[in-house]
Amino acid sequence: MPNIDRRDFIKLVGAGGVGVGAGVVLRESIKHPREHLIPHVLAPEDYSSGVATWYNSVCSMCSAGCGISVRTREGRAKKIEGNPSHAVNQGGLCAVGQAGLQVLYNPDRVTGPLLQAAGRGSNDFTQITWDDGLTRVASRLDVLRAAGRGNRVAVLTRGTSGHLAELLEAFGQGLGTDRLLHYDYDHPHALHVANQRFFGEQQLPYYDLANTRHLLSFGADYLAGWLSPVHHSLGFAQSRHGGDHRGHFVQIEPRMSPSGAAADEWIPARPGTEGILALGLAHHIVASGHYEGDDVDAWQEVLSAYTLARVAQETDVSESTLRQLAESFANTRPSLAIGGDGAANNSNGVDTLVAINALNYLAGNVGEMGGVIFNPDPGGATSHSRQANYQTLAQLAESARSGEIDVLILNDANPVFTMPVASGFKAALEQIPFIVSLSSFIDETSALADVVLPSHTYLESWGDAFPEQGVGFSIGAVSQPVVAPLYDTKATGDIVLDLARRVGKPMPWNSTEECIKDGWNKIYQESDSNTKTESFESFWTALLKAGVWGKKNHRMTETSRPNANTIASIGVDAPTFSGDAEVYPFVLQPYLSTMHDGRAANLPWIQELPDAMTSVVYGSWVEMNPKTAKDLGLTEGDLVDVESPEGAVRAPILVYPAIRPDVIAMPIGQGHTNYGRYASNRGTNPLEILSPVVDENSGNVASNATRVKIVATGKHVEIVKTSGKSRDLGRDIVQTTGGDDHTAQTNSIPITVIPT
């Protein structure tokens, strides 16, 4: 190449330099950044990095008490699964149970003791130390206790079972208060009372779905919410395809629930007339001589009024259907009738359930496999004796108003959300001078607290559960911490123990763990010799490993047969509703959705789980029969005001093919004002507008006894749902077949119990 002058040379050098630079920068820029390897200081024994460890525990998302196995990696909980060896759920677990992880890892958890100095509801919390927080509470308690006015302390906890409940009781006694209230919105008060009245049994019997061949469900959404849904699901499957005969399922309810969808027959009876229907069937059974028991005359007399004709007329179910129902119920052995939810939440709820008990009795389903079986008595206080119903809470509110309560201790209970506004409960609480909350979240009730002493979530703390509705025999399970506490929180039990110590009423234990172990030591001592291990310690480790323990002796005792008075007392009046039928043409049915009583609304997985029937996510809606909607000129997404005598809530219309034209249904759970980023200001809460109609027999609010009217607002919103068009246009996507080629599936696990 000929001469290159100085200029060109410089250019060349420059170009080369720039090029090289560019090259280096290029490579550096695409290189992976350095990471760090952080070793343990002290290697843990119970896991090695990269390998999963499983812990058995108990689910506390609802009162069913399913056993869970939690998968952990590097000391973090990764997944919750059903414990296959737990008799209640046998490996299965519902959506909410799995979302329990998001209770633990919820970004809105209270991370340490808080003080709401700026005034209640201000949500302006300041961090304080545990000692500070505890002294603030203890000082007040101490004064009251010393003055012998411990009764001015009220404890309102979410339904807790097992030894933790006993610990709370001991605490209450220590303070000298009898105001220790457990509160779950969905506690089946009516069912307890009804069983008490008919069977003389305080506790819940075991409804043996697995072995029944004909289930008559009066409004009980046994697959989604009623008592122990997962266990019922197992039973349902077992009955459908576990044996050689396919169980027949009938659902009687004005609005089709998931159980109704799964059933073979769905019968939309008039709301509140389920009991009358049941007695109608009973009448037919007795009249047609299916019942060979004693007191036939007494039965005939008490049932005489409930002729099929009248019942048909009152329930809006055709006489032929009723007759056919009665026949198949009486003839199919074993058969089973259950009642709850919709049927129980009316002004005549208890009567209805008694009627259903009677139906079971007359059909000979009591104490039979596939019928109603009674558990061995767990002994001690049952959940029912602890649980506060609407009236009890109303009294609490009353005494709060009249200034009889100085301190309120809240534990994960959220009555402000679930009590009707008409009850004035919130206003009453505000009268209480000092409120302390042990909740992990700032919900509507905790927002009123002056001091928040956050407790562990159930995955971080000790506890145990004896599933009440059970599995036909008594079992118990221990709930153990599966992860180290994420935040500066304490176990509920430990807080209580600490307070007790501070008010000079120390209890015999230093920690919840001790208390639980102590309790189980007793059980161990009492347990039959054949299940004894060489020492309690080995029993304890075996127990924690298995996660569940139980005896396999069915009680199946013949319950005291109803005496004359009981029989005579049977009878169901027409339901009473608040609001004039002229002004308020529709009956409002608030039903429990996946969000439960709203406690699951702050779990994003549940918010994003399409509703089982409507596939709606995020938000609430008003279900309305297509015909009604047409008459009112409403279409899906039209925003309406649902007005009851007590107030109004606003939600979009969802045209729902399977609901009575005279009924409006709304899901419970949304409409939180103060429950974290995922739940707050989303949808509406139908419970707000309920009239405080009370079923005198159960003392609980009749949540289905409110009439409403629909007022169109002219606004329109898009309901967020995942379903496009919910009709298969003859494309045979879901194929069906006649009952004849029924086949037994082998995939339902037989109930197993861990010998200890």
Partner: protein, 254 residues
């Protein structure tokens, strides 16, 4: 045999389902629609196991939810004689899958276990697989997803978190299948035992309506369930030879 014959012969050979002589395992699933209660436990289980993002309300409004396993609702009839049929819909792992032919970079292909794979880090996001899939069970990451701390601590370390621009779908919980194979090797076993591996949805199903296993093993529970007279495949007329078989819902005579 003439040249033409040899060509056609070779073509047929290549048209074998999944392009394998035979599958090592042949994973399959049956879902009994008569037992399914549509509770949605499987949906959450899937979300928990496979690091499915929390997309938020806005994404749902736009129709951008990511649910590897979804429940489809089909109403039948009018009030009062109305029925709701629910059917869980997830990747059917078709043995002749439309999505596999169209992916230009082979991010989705049929593997030796008869599974329809999806390799996230290979995907370039043409989304053609989602178009070709008649079951519409492939979901696209329209943007990066965030897990608000500490929700991220729940993420399953055995499953990659997908970035924006990547297609994803049900994998029959491949991480569990691999784990089961791993355990089998530790025990010095050649094969995975029946029932040893269950996808999250099958494991959690409260009604035990789902069965998962190896179709190649005639004694396996799933093979028995496949012989059920009620067995059918959704959109079978498209000849996708899917590995998910449904058992018909029984219409009660009463």
């Amino acid at each position: 045999m003439s040249f033409l014959d040899r060509i056609t012969e070779g073509w047929r050979k290549n048209r074998k389902p999944g392009y394998y002589e035979e599958f090592d395992y042949h994973w399959a699933m049956t879902i009994d629609l008569d037992q399914c209660s549509g509770c949605g436990a499987c949906v959450t289980a899937c979300q928990a196991e496979n690091n499915l993002p929390i997309v938020g309300e806005d994404a749902f409004t736009k129709g951008r939810e990511i649910k590897w396993l979804r429940l489809e609702h089909y109403w039948e009839g009018e009030y009062p004689d109305v029925k709701l049929n629910v059917i869980p819909m997830m990747c059917q792992h078709c043995d002749s899958a439309p999505c596999e032919t169209v992916c230009p970079v082979s991010a989705t292909y049929h593997n030796q276990d008869g599974l329809n794979t999806q390799i996230y880090n290979r995907c370039i996001g043409t989304r053609s697989c989602a178009v070709y899939c008649p079951y519409e069970v492939r979901y696209f990451n329209y943007n990066d997803h965030a897990w608000e701390s500490p929700l991220d601590q729940q993420l399953n370390p055995d499953v990659s978190v997908r970035e924006k621009g990547v297609m994803e779908k049900c994998t029959f919980c491949i991480q569990r299948i691999r784990q089961a194979k791993d355990n089998a090797k530790d025990d010095g076993r050649r094969r995975v035992r029946d029932g040893e591996v269950q996808p999250a949805c099958v494991q959690t199903c409260p009604t035990k309506a789902m069965v998962f296993g190896d179709r190649n093993d005639p004694k396996s529970q799933v093979s028995q369930s496949l012989n059920d007279p009620r067995a059918y495949k959704v959109l079978d007329e498209l000849n996708t030879h899917s590995s998910v078989v449904y058992l018909k819902k029984v219409e009660a005579e009463g």
